[in-house]
């Protein structure tokens, strides 16, 4: 009953010699067909094109082509100030925008060498973990949809709307939130925030259990995902994997534990680690991470410290509006910040944070003015999508679809 998929795979032919000769030929050998998988393709993962050469249903060679949603974030960043770049960062990984906001603000605050007050740090951590849950809902739900299990996604989406409701009441927008500022948050939390988050935390573990019951022990799901798209730990490190994909391959690296930021050193949580890096392991690692996120939020939600939500040093954050209109110094601070921006010491700096996909890093070169000289975004999807041909060559087309879906490639982040 418990057949191993990798043994079945060994029966398929060895295509390595054929693959070399297919480099860029126009006339294909007999029996090989060149098919275009994308860019507008049914799995709602965004715009990813793969030119695959197939022999029957088996993929002999795959060539990904990217760049269809190149939205020029790095060049735009050179003409925006540090606070304005938050609007760009939102649009990168568009399934969990608050995480990108927080990653950028953590990097910017480290460059300027200021620290946000504790209240802002705790609220940022709570929103960070809720966005991580919403990202994993999409990844796991869509993996189910690609294999035919539509019910799980519809059920989980209702709870993703609840996270959206919390974000909308807090920041004003569902998706492009832009709610952190350098020095703290834009607005304080609304009065019912604790109540709403607690209601969500009460319902969500049971929902996750129901979703698991649909898929984890399902024979079809296990056959289609176990052993497929497997990658070993050294291979994953060679390619530059980070995040849940690396943890599924067996390496316990998480930026929240290695280089703690926000309040991650004060909460207690575990890092799930997989065995062979296959699609099934990635699915399980994400489910387990959602449960750990619920654990983190429930530790923090009762202990939000009082105090200011924004650093009171008005060199870096805008003063409150009623003081701007009544007091002279606050008006001068406001004017200086809006017209001239924050002055940042020259130099270069790299900082990374744990986004839902992996380590989202920002390398900033500053020349002393209020606009960065060069921003480079280390996008996690870019580094692990280049290994896609290695994961799918020799397998079937249907397995390629499920591998693409379980790797969680977000096209907006990949090309930007």
């Amino acid at each position: 009953m418990q057949e191993n998929n990798s043994e079945k795979r060994a029966v398929l032919k060895d295509y390595s010699v054929l693959r070399e000769s297919l480099a860029d030929v126009d006339v294909l050998p007999e029996g090989i067909m060149r098919l275009n998988l994308g860019p507008a393709h049914p799995a709602t993962h965004g715009i990813l094109q793969n030119i695959i050469d197939i022999d029957g249903e088996t993929i002999v060679k795959a060539r990904p082509v990217i760049g269809y949603v190149h939205r020029t974030f790095e060049k735009l960043g050179e003409s925006y100030t540090y606070n304005q770049f938050l609007t760009c960062v939102d649009r990168m990984n568009y399934v969990s925008p608050p995480m990108n906001n927080i990653a950028w603000v953590v990097a910017a605050e480290e460059i300027i060498k200021i620290k946000a007050p504790p209240r802002a740090q705790v609220i940022r951590t709570i929103i960070n973990e809720l966005s991580r849950i919403s990202d994993h809902i999409i990844c796991n739900g869509i993996l189910g949809v690609d294999l035919g299990a539509y019910t799980g996604l519809l059920y989980l989406f209702h709870f993703r709307e609840k996270i959206y409701d919390i974000l909308e009441k807090m920041t004003g927008a569902r998706l492009t939130t832009t709610f952190t500022r350098i020095g703290g948050l834009e607005l304080d939390m609304y009065p019912d925030f604790v109540k709403d988050v607690k209601a969500f935390l009460k319902e969500y573990p049971k929902v996750l259990k129901d979703f698991n019951a649909l898929l984890i022990k399902n024979r079809i799901f296990i056959d289609r995902t176990r052993g497929i798209g497997a990658i070993s730990a050294e291979n994953a490190i060679q390619w530059g994997y980070t995040g849940p994909n690396l943890r599924a391959a067996g390496v316990a690296y998480d930026v929240r534990k290695a280089y703690p930021y926000l309040v991650y050193d004060q909460v207690d949580f575990d890092i799930p680690v997989g065995v062979d890096g296959s699609n099934y392991d990635r699915f399980l690692v994400r489910i387990e991470e959602m449960e750990q996120s619920v654990k983190i939020v429930s530790q923090l939600i009762d202990n939000i410290p009082d105090g200011p939500f924004k650093k009171e040093d008005y060199h870096f954050s805008l003063p409150p509006k009623d003081e701007v209109f009544s007091s002279m110094e606050q008006m001068i601070y406001h004017f200086k910040q809006v017209m001239h921006g924050i002055s940042v010491p020259p130099g270069e700096y790299y900082s990374g944070a744990e986004a839902a996909n992996g380590e989202l890093g920002f390398y900033v070169v500053s020349d002393g003015t209020d606009k960065p000289y060069r921003i480079h975004v280390r996008r996690p999807c870019f580094w692990y999508y280049q290994s896609f041909p290695e994961l799918v060559e020799g397998g079937l087309i249907a397995d390629a679809i499920s591998t693409m879906s379980s790797l969680n490639v977000i096209a907006g982040e990949l090309d930007g």
């Binding site: 709602t44 949603v69 649009r91 568009y94 999409i138």
Partner: protein
Amino acid sequence: MGVEKYLGDSIFATSLSSVANWARKGSLWPYPYGTACCSIEFMSVMCSDFDIARFGAERPSFSPRQADLLMVLGTITYKMAPVLWRVYHTMSEPKWVICVGACASSGGMFDSYAVLQGIDRIIPVDMYVPGCPPRPEMMLDALIKLQQKIQKESLNDPKYQERSDYLQRIFEESDIEVKK
């Protein structure tokens, strides 16, 4: 329905027009051409909270041949523009286009070297939905307004008379003779 080719250009059909338009507007099957953030909002619209199926858009199709309504969701770059053009011209008449979001309408906040400043430079658009991203209720509002627009259409509209540009070009480039 194909009634247009029997009418020629000297007959005006009124009741037939309204019946045909009622049938067309009540079952607009969308093609969600999702590129970026707006496609995530469209996923919310498709799911149970803001159900789009109650307006007739029951079956999102990913094959242009089987879709009526092209919804362009997200940024279109210069690299993607020929693909969008080809998908539009592969769809068969009657077809409508809803352009969702600021990026598809006019380039959005990305006024830069790689982003096409508006898809109406390459395909004709029926409805623009502003927002970054627009709320799901706005997309439903756009669908309702498009349904009202379809109800007022006439079967003698010139767009139903002429062949699509893409097909014309294919016929011109090959040596196929077209019987008129």
